[in-house]
Symmetry: C2
């Protein structure tokens, strides 16, 4: 039995930042998100991987207790190569090899269909819709997306947005989708599309939570070392949904806490490539950083 | 007897934003800052104005209880014309008429020289230095500056920075001065220059306070109406120093509160042109918004 299911990609990444030029890293939205969720709850992945996925990558996920029953292994693995400039704000995609991802048709193992907490990680919205259709009684569905889908599959994306409880966007995506610079207006417009909650991620500046008549402003963590931002958005989403699954509380005050736990894991994630840092930290490290978040926003 | 003195400009501004094209507005760094400070303490201005400054502008300041003994009236007034694009992030200067500002040689009235709380508002650092030399026993000196002085008078600016207690910069200026994108590194480097506290303003994203081993993250206010950002930085600085002067407490926890009060007045200031909004609000409005700041950052 899994507490939370995560749909997204399993990738093999080549990543270049000012701090290194790394090859064949474990990556992908489902990987980062389910690893982050696993600090709090039993996560099951829904994804497709290649038969060439290095065995140590698979072992890393299994060691973390992540259920891979929902992962199909077929052909060559999805690959992504990207680089970051000095300001680390946005990845530049150098190469994408979709490979087996082209054949991905998500089928949920029966036990996954009872999952209460669901993260639709960054992947084609058509696939996200297929997952929603297979769910029996979800309590909370969190949708993550990205500008690529806003550009290429806006209609399908809008269908997904209508069906979810929490919409997660970064600031650039929100401004693009709602054609306004004001994030407050973006948040309000997003609520009109259906979701009960809207979270706008602002990178180093933290995140905003909008819901009916309420507003929460989550601070960013003052990171001194930022080696690779890849997967931070996914880790945020995974940490968030994992904490919700652990506490089984979808009230607004608990969503605030979940945002800080998500931010905590995302901040650790940025400190090294791939899952290097995430795999070293304990729940105590997370709790300590959560306390720091409280202290540096207190007045 | 004044509690806080503010050096800066008195301007007549022409300002164009997507919400209007306004002429002959009261503006200038000393005006916005001393008006904001006056919600909390008796402020005295150190500045120069033209003999052509409209009498209603002067009356507005006097009505607020601002002491103008430190203001010289001479020749034509300093004028500035600026415009903001859709994103309201940065003013584009269309025209500057320095006029009487060219003759400004700040001489503090004797009672100003005993002031404990001093705001060196945005003006030529050579003039800021002259003010410091005339002070008898300042408790806290706050320095505000801008990219123009970093570009043109960096040596003098560095001399001022060494002599102040709190350095205030916006994020762009901090990155320019310290040649790094990391605001955490900017904050740490700025502390090495002499000030005990460094505040980095991030516009809509709030502000950061750095001091020895401590970090404070102040949220931005979720403004729905933003008509004109002119003077928000000055209003922040004025509200900050005014609150410090009122409470006579320069501890780090109290500086955190001062930052929120400064943010509160700055957020009101952005809601209309010139001092139009500031002159309508009461201390109750400020206290209510301060409470909102507490509520929307709570988790």
């Amino acid at each position: 039995m899994v507490d939370v299911i995560v749909i997204g990609t399993i990738g093999i990444d080549d990543i270049k930042t000012p701090f290194g030029d790394m090859k064949n890293l474990l990556g992908g939205s489902a990987v980062y998100a389910s690893h982050a969720a696993s600090f709090f709850a039993k996560a099951g992945m829904v994804s497709i991987a290649g038969e060439d996925l290095p065995v140590e990558h698979k072992e890393l996920l299994e060691k973390k207790g992540i259920c891979l029953k929902g992962v199909e292994f077929k052909g060559k693995n999805f690959r992504w190569a990207g680089s970051y400039e000095f300001d680390m704000n946005e990845a530049k995609t150098l190469e994408t090899g979709l490979n087996s991802l082209l054949d991905f048709d998500p089928k949920l193992p029966d036990e996954y269909r009872n999952a209460k907490y669901v993260l639709l990680g960054n992947i084609d919205p058509t696939l996200q819709l297929k997952v929603i259709e297979q769910l029996r009684e979800p309590e909370l569905i969190l949708l993550d997306t990205m500008n690529f889908w806003i550009d290429t599959k806006k209609d399908d994306l809008m269908k997904v947005i209508k069906k979810v409880d929490v919409l997660l966007l970064n600031d650039g995506e929100a401004r693009q989708l709602f054609d306004t610079v004001s994030l407050v207006k973006c948040g309000q417009q997003a609520l009109h599309l259906g979701p009960k909650y809207v979270i706008i991620k602002k990178g180093e500046h933290g995140a905003l939570l909008f819901s009916d008549g309420k507003h929460f402003n989550a601070p960013g963590y003052p990171l001194e070392v930022l080696k690779d931002p890849t997967g931070c958005g996914d880790s945020f989403a995974g940490g968030f949904i994992g904490y919700i699954a652990k506490t089984k509380d979808i009230s607004e005050p608990n969503l605030r806490k979940a945002i800080i736990y998500g931010s905590t894991i995302a901040s650790f994630n940025a400190e090294d490539f791939s899952l290097e840092k995430q795999k070293q930290i304990s729940i105590d490290d997370i709790e300590n950083r959560f306390k720091e978040f409280r202290e540096f926003r207190e007045f």
